[in-house]
């Protein structure tokens, strides 16, 4: 089949603007969700390793629940179902008064989902800290909180930087799911350009190139971070 190539369409102010705005949303959703994922994920990950049965059970339940339901389903539940389950006023607030409802919903859904994956990395990091270290710390008279503060966390957070790189990249990719609830992020914008101009090849290529650039940038940042956080002489687990 013949295809009329027209790369210049991507540089028409209107469509170029769409790509830029899409990129803006993609980065905003991904970074905001990443903050939620780091905070919640660290708490849940640490919680799973605590000696307190009650806390560790709840944290395990969190991970299993959020990890075993597709992100798309979670996004729809937050967007479509939650406002209907809340009292009428709160539901209406979520739908109408809340600023940028699609954006906020996407960030919350993506953040809490990614948190379950971050939690697993944090737990794995803590569990690789040799038992002897914590035993020695306890023998010194440290409390559980002190052992975490001075032994587990400093070591494990530096150990898990490499696996976290791939989670960080995944957040950017998964932010594309926001298009299903009407947020015009990068993938949605490229599809919209394809549909307005019928230049699908060019539109999807543009989005693909931008995603690759995002991935490269993120990888470089994380590599630098990795160099600074590496524990000398500590091989750790290879990603």
């Amino acid at each position: 089949m013949n295809y009329n190539w027209n790369w210049s369409v991507l540089f028409e102010p209107e469509y170029f603007g769409w790509l830029l705005s899409g990129l803006g949303w993609t980065i905003s959703v991904a970074l905001c969700a990443w903050v939620i994922a780091l905070v919640v994920g660290s708490l849940v990950g640490v919680g799973r390793t605590l000696p307190n049965k009650f806390i560790s059970t709840i944290c395990t339940a969190y991970v299993e629940l959020f990890r075993n339901i597709p992100l798309l389903v979670q996004m729809f539940i937050w967007y479509f179902a939650v406002p209907e389950m809340l009292p009428e006023d709160a539901g209406r607030w979520m739908k109408r008064e809340m600023p940028q409802p699609e954006f906020v919903t996407a960030v919350v859904a993506l953040g809490l989902y990614t948190a379950s994956r971050v939690a697993e990395q944090v737990r794995a990091g803590i569990e690789t800290v040799p038992k002897g270290l914590s035993a020695a710390a306890t023998a010194q008279g440290m409390t559980v909180a002190q052992v975490y503060r001075h032994v587990f966390l400093p070591i494990s957070f530096r150990l898990i930087v490499p696996p976290m790189t791939s989670e960080f990249l995944t957040v950017f990719k998964n932010s594309s799911l926001a298009l299903t609830i009407g947020l015009l992020e990068l993938t949605a914008q490229s599809q919209q350009i394809a549909e307005y101009t019928f230049q699908s090849f060019e539109a999807y290529t543009a989005a693909t190139v931008i995603y690759v650039l995002i991935a490269l940038t993120a990888t470089i940042i994380m590599t630098i971070l990795e160099r600074y956080t590496r524990i000398p002489g500590y091989v750790g687990k290879e990603g």
Partner: protein, 291 residues
């Protein structure tokens, strides 16, 4: 003269005696007809929520005005290629329908698609089967009675529709501050309105009546405003395939000429209380080309 005439007669006799089907093989047809003859199936693109043109019924099967018209075309196709064909349905939406037609996934699109010149760069259309235009659906108590009233309000628009562009253009022209929620299809648009996420939804006025009719609380909603666009609907076929297009035109001309169209129209639009527009009746007459 007489000699040639005899030969023609002989040929006609041979055809009449049933030799013709033996001669016509799948490879005698090209393009879409050839594909249908070869595979023994025709692929129809349908919509999921374009009431009453093309939507899923309670059994989740596609039905509607456009689907009925398409069945007439399928019959004509069967007559042309001389064998029965299976109908396979593929769901399409405003974002996918043109691409799926252009890339050959579907052979015939039976939905509620506006025939416009931009789209004709990609696809071809059969004669007009309905005439409508963009209007606004809102709650009766919303205080909205025209586009101008949308200022400071929110409206859902289905991505990839002509209505999306019509409303955006009107909003821009009037310099209004309107929050636009892009939705995937009419069902999602109606859902946004019903769940109070937006103040209005906009698409072709006839579809708005269809959405009201299927709603649980039809009395709460009203179609308001002037037409914001002119949307003549037509069934979509592939571009540059005049043989298949002709079969479609023949089938529709027969339906228009015989008056069958009135029964089909009544079946789907009487329940909505929407009588045929004079403009639409003229379109039917113009489509009823002589044999």
């Amino acid at each position: 003269m007489t000699f040639t005439r005899t030969r023609h007669l002989l040929a006609a006799a041979a055809l009449a005696m049933g030799f013709a089907p033996a001669v016509l093989h799948a490879q005698d047809f090209t393009g879409t007809l050839g594909k249908i003859a070869e595979n023994g199936e025709i692929v129809i693109g349908h919509r999921e929520s374009s009431v009453p043109f093309s939507y899923l019924n309670a059994q989740q099967q596609p039905e509607g005005y456009s689907i009925d018209l398409c069945m007439k075309i399928v019959e004509e196709v069967e007559k042309t290629i001389g064998k029965d064909v299976e109908v396979r349905y593929v769901p399409v939406n405003p974002k996918t329908r043109i691409a799926l037609m252009a890339n050959g996934t579907i052979d015939l699109e039976c939905g509620s698609t506006t025939n416009n010149l931009t789209r004709q760069q990609q696809v071809e259309y059969l004669p007009v089967t309905f005439v409508t235009g963009t209007k606004i659906l809102t709650r009766k108590d919303s205080g909205i009675s025209s586009v101008a009233d949308l200022d400071g309000k929110s409206i859902a628009l289905a991505q990839g529709t002509t209505n999306e562009r019509a409303v955006k253009a009107a909003v821009e022209e009037l310099g209004l501050d309107v929050k636009i929620l892009p939705v995937r299809d009419h069902a999602e648009g109606m859902l946004s309105l019903e769940t109070d996420r937006v103040d209005a939804y906009s698409t072709d006025h006839i579809l708005l009546f269809g959405l009201i009719a299927k709603s649980k609380t039809p009395d709460d909603f009203a179609v308001v405003g002037d037409f914001l666009s002119f949307d003549p609907y037509a069934l979509m076929v592939r571009r540059d395939d005049s043989a298949f297009e002709l079969v479609g035109k023949i089938a529709l001309a027969n339906v228009f000429r015989s008056g069958e169209i009135d029964a089909i129209y009544a079946k789907w639009f009487d329940p909505l209380g929407v009588p045929a527009d004079p403009l639409l009746k003229s379109a039917f007459q113009l489509g009823a080309l002589p044999e």
